[in-house]
Each structure stands twice: as C-alpha cells, then as structure tokens.
C-alpha cells in the first residue's frame, strides 16, 4: 500500500496573552493510500490543530507533512476538511453549496445531477432548494459532508462530523460513508470522541495524550466490514481504548 500521508516530528504552539501554549508535541505517523485512521483524545488536547496542520491550513512550527511524497504547504481540493464548526455557506441553497466545489465539471446540468445525487445519499432529497437557516443542525452537518464527498477528494479530513447527529442518523451516516468508501477509496482521517464510531469505521485508531498532545497508543482494527458492534471483539477493543483515555469501564 503506497504511503499517502507522511508526518514527521510535527510540533505546534500558539502564543496567547498568558504566554506560549504548546499544543502539538512531536507527532509522527504514516497513513497508507485508502486507509481509514480514527483519532481520539481528550477535549482540547490538540486534535483539530493537528488536523488543520495536516490539511495545510496552518504551518507546523517544526516537522513536515508529506502528501504523496511532496511537502504540503497549502490546502487544496485533493484534501477536503470537514470542519468541526461547520462551513456551509448560509447564502447559498443546499444545491448551490453542493455544486460549489465542482470546479472541474463543465456543464451545469451535470453539476446539478452530482449535487442531487449526493443530497440524496445524505438523506436531503427534497431540500435541494432550501437555505441552510431552514435546516436543522444535523441536516446542516450532512450538507457539509455531502459537499466534501461530491468533489471526490483523495483525502477526507473529518473533524467530529457526526457529533451533531442523533444516534440513528449517526449510524446511518457511518454506513453511508462505508458504502461510499467501498466505491471511491478515499483516504480518511477522522476525529471523533465516540470510541465505538472509531472502531466501527477505522483501520487504525490513534489515541492522543492530553495537551501538548502526542500519540499515546495505536490500535489496529483488523475486523472485516461489516462490523458487528455488539461482538465481544469490538467490546474488548473499546474497553482497551477507553482505558487509554483514562475512562474506567462501566461494566
């Protein structure tokens, strides 16, 4: 499997009123082409910061990010970031948002067809003409996901994409994502606070330490898809990861 993302010695600190805040402390790992990595870690540890560095939005203080062997300096359509805070354009309709990234598609009718296809995938059929302020928080998140998928990026950076969704919709979106990945083979980096979600989706789960963050533990998830979340294997892995996070098992 060729290496898609190659990180070495990434560090980042921010200067604040109270002095420098070390956020990311020497993170190195590699991600294979088509691999799905889930990142879990305590709130505020630096997960989003790490992801924004990898996607090219902020430069690391030291270390380097290689994508396909070349140094990543800027964000681009090859790697789309689904932001934790949401960035669906409120002045465009759902359809216009989904068409926004389709720069390489020539004809408008083709763009509309692609937009409608992805609206359908995320369960927003019938809302193509709606404006974001007419949607619920969960629907908005789905627009965000669909907009990213529509451009078929080589890498998907997903920062807690399903956390605004209810349990049922979250499960449905996970299954849709797995279905799409079966066809499109994106490389995925997913930040989540839901350990079960990480195990459900990822080939590898990385546990980050509290700030300044570094990789504390890595778990390979070897089970084939579709995974049965109630299986003892999954539960065992879940307990092990929770233990790394300092959460005592509840049973």
């Amino acid at each position: 499997m060729p290496i898609k993302i190659d990180l070495a010695g990434l560090r980042k600190s921010f200067s604040t009123d109270k002095g420098t805040l070390a956020v990311v402390d020497d993170v190195s790992f590699q991600v294979g082409d088509g691999e799905f990595i889930a990142i879990v870690g305590p709130s505020g540890c630096g997960k989003s910061t790490l992801m924004r560095m990898i996607a090219g939005f902020i430069p690391p203080d030291s270390g380097r990010v290689l994508i396909d062997g070349a140094v990543r300096t800027q964000p681009g359509p090859q790697g789309i970031l689904i932001s934790q805070h949401g960035s669906v354009f409120p002045w465009l309709t759902v359809q216009e948002n989904l068409m926004f990234g389709l720069n390489t598609v020539e004809s408008t009718s083709e763009k509309i067809a692609i937009a409608n296809h992805y609206a359908n995938i995320v369960g927003l059929k019938g809302f193509e003409g709606a404006y974001p302020h007419e949607l619920s928080g969960g629907m908005l998140k789905r627009v965000e996901i669909a907009r990213a998928l529509a451009v078929k990026p080589a890498i998907l950076y997903m920062d807690e994409p399903f956390s605004a969704l209810d349990a049922l919709m979250s499960l449905r979106m996970r299954n849709e994502l797995l279905k799409i990945l079966g066809q499109e083979r994106h490389t995925v980096l997913l930040i989540t606070h839901d350990v079960e979600e990480a195990i459900h989706l990822a080939d590898r789960v990385m546990v980050l330490s509290p700030r300044p963050t570094r990789i504390q533990a890595t778990f390979d998830v070897k089970m084939p898809h579709p995974r049965k979340l109630t299986s003892p294997e999954v539960q065992q892995l879940r307990q092990a990861i929770l233990k790394e996070l300092g959460v005592e098992a509840e049973d």
Binding site: F57, G76, I80, L81, F89, P90, W91, L92, F100, G101
Partner: protein, 252 residues
C-alpha cells in the same frame, strides 16, 4: 387585528399632536402660523397647479443620480479596501477625516466647482452617501467569518468565484445597511442643498413659500411631504432585506 393594535398608539399620538396644534393656533388667533386645515388646502392647491409633482420629481431625480453614482463608486471601492490591506491603510485615514464633514459644509465649494445647476446637489448627495456605503462595505468584508474563506480556499475556487459566491454574498447584508444609511442622508441633504441656490425641488418650495409672502401653510406642507417620502424611500430599501439571498442574516 393585532396589527391594528400595534399601529394604534402611533396614529393616536399623531392625531393628538394635530389636535393640539389646531387648538393652540385657533386660541392664540395667530395670523402667521397656519391651522392644519390650511396646510391641507395649501397642499391641494399645490397638487392642482402641478407644482408639487414638479418639485418632488426634481428632488427625487437629484437624489437618484447622486445616490446611484455613490453606489457605483462605493461598492468596488469598499470591496477593494476590505480585501486589500494596503488599500485600506492608504485610503482609510483620508476617509476618516472627510467623513465627519457635514455635506452642508461642502455647499460653497460645490457651487464654486459646479455652479448653481443640478450638478451641485448631485455632488453633495454623492459626497454624503458615498462614505457610509464604503464604510459598511469595508466592515462587511472584514467581518466575513474565516471558516467560510477557509472552505472556499479548500475547494480551490477561482478568484472570480470566490468573489461572486463567497465575498459579495457574505457582505450583501452590510451593503444593504449602507444603502439604507446612504439614501437616508441623501434625502436629508437634497432638501438642504435646494434651499440655497436652486429654483426647483422640495427644499426650494419651502424657502420660496416663506420668502414669497409668508406662506407657512406651504412650508409645513413641504415638510410633511419630505417626511413621508423619506419614510417611503426607507421602506423601499427595507424591501431589499427580504431578498432570499440575504435572509440568512436576519434568521435566528
């Protein structure tokens, strides 16, 4: 029914004021200050001989010309200053000094430069409405949330698309606020400008009515018409706030 209830106090206070005015004028037997009825008959007189429409048309024409000229300058300038740090740093200090100068203070210079024709008031309206519109547009660009610009950058769109689909729509609500302010000031200024040198317009009507025989009924009629038209113009601008493209700003 609830709408009627909402407007009732506002209408009541106006009716009360007119009643008090009527009462005071009749009890003091003022020879120069007109009763409300005389204002009404004066207005009818102006409508009958057609001069009212002529004055309204003249004022609106000047406001329209000056305002749209200002809009055509303010939009590109505001977007440019908002987007390019250098343009902002260069032009903003100058604008900050020019902005607080009352348009009325420009009247002598306007007459010197443009004479006593239509160009003078149009220039004054331009000067008075261009600054608020520039300022609002710049502020609009500066307050675009970074997450939207980041998303646009991520999708790698062209500069043209960045402006037409992200920057301009994001700033549009602020531009509309600027247009409301701009048109409001423009209407204030046109009346003042017409009082000085012109021979038409609502400002001229007021001054001329006083000078030609103390026709205070026509003075007050002119004032009320100015107020009503100003209200109407603001109402038109507010219609823009209902556009689908900007409604996101007023939702929630």
């Amino acid at each position: 029914m609830s709408r009627l209830r909402q407007f009732l106090p506002g209408i009541a206070i106006i009716v009360l004021l007119i009643a008090a005015w009527w009462l005071i004028v009749t009890t003091t037997r003022s020879v120069i200050f007109p009763t409300p009825w005389r204002v009404v008959t004066g207005t009818v007189e102006l409508i009958r001989d057609g001069t009212l429409w002529m004055h309204i048309g003249a004022s609106l024409g000047r406001v329209g010309a000056g305002f749209f000229l200002a809009l055509a300058v303010a939009l590109p300038l505001g977007l440019w200053m908002g987007w390019q740090r250098g343009a902002y740093d260069t032009l903003n200090p100058l604008f900050q000094i020019l902005r607080p100068i009352s348009p009325i203070a420009w009247i002598p210079i306007a007459i010197l430069w443009f004479g006593v024709g239509n160009a003078s008031p149009i220039y004054l309206i331009f000067i008075s409405s261009v600054f608020p519109m520039v300022v609002q547009t710049v502020a609009g660009v500066h307050t675009i949330e970074k997450r939207y610009l980041r998303a646009a950058e991520n999708f790698g769109v062209s500069r043209y698309k960045l402006f037409t689909q992200v920057v301009i729509p994001a700033v549009l609500p602020q531009i509309i606020v600027g247009m409301r302010i701009g048109l409001g000031v423009a209407w204030l200024v046109v009346v003042a400008a017409e009082m000085i040198a012109l021979r038409s317009g609502l400002g001229y009507l007021i001054i001329d009515s006083r000078n030609a025989g103390n026709r205070y009924d026509l003075v007050i009629a002119g004032m009320i018409i100015i107020g009503l038209i100003g209200l109407l113009l603001d109402g038109l601008m507010r219609l823009l706030e209902g556009l689908k493209m900007v409604r996101w700003r007023y939702a929630h």
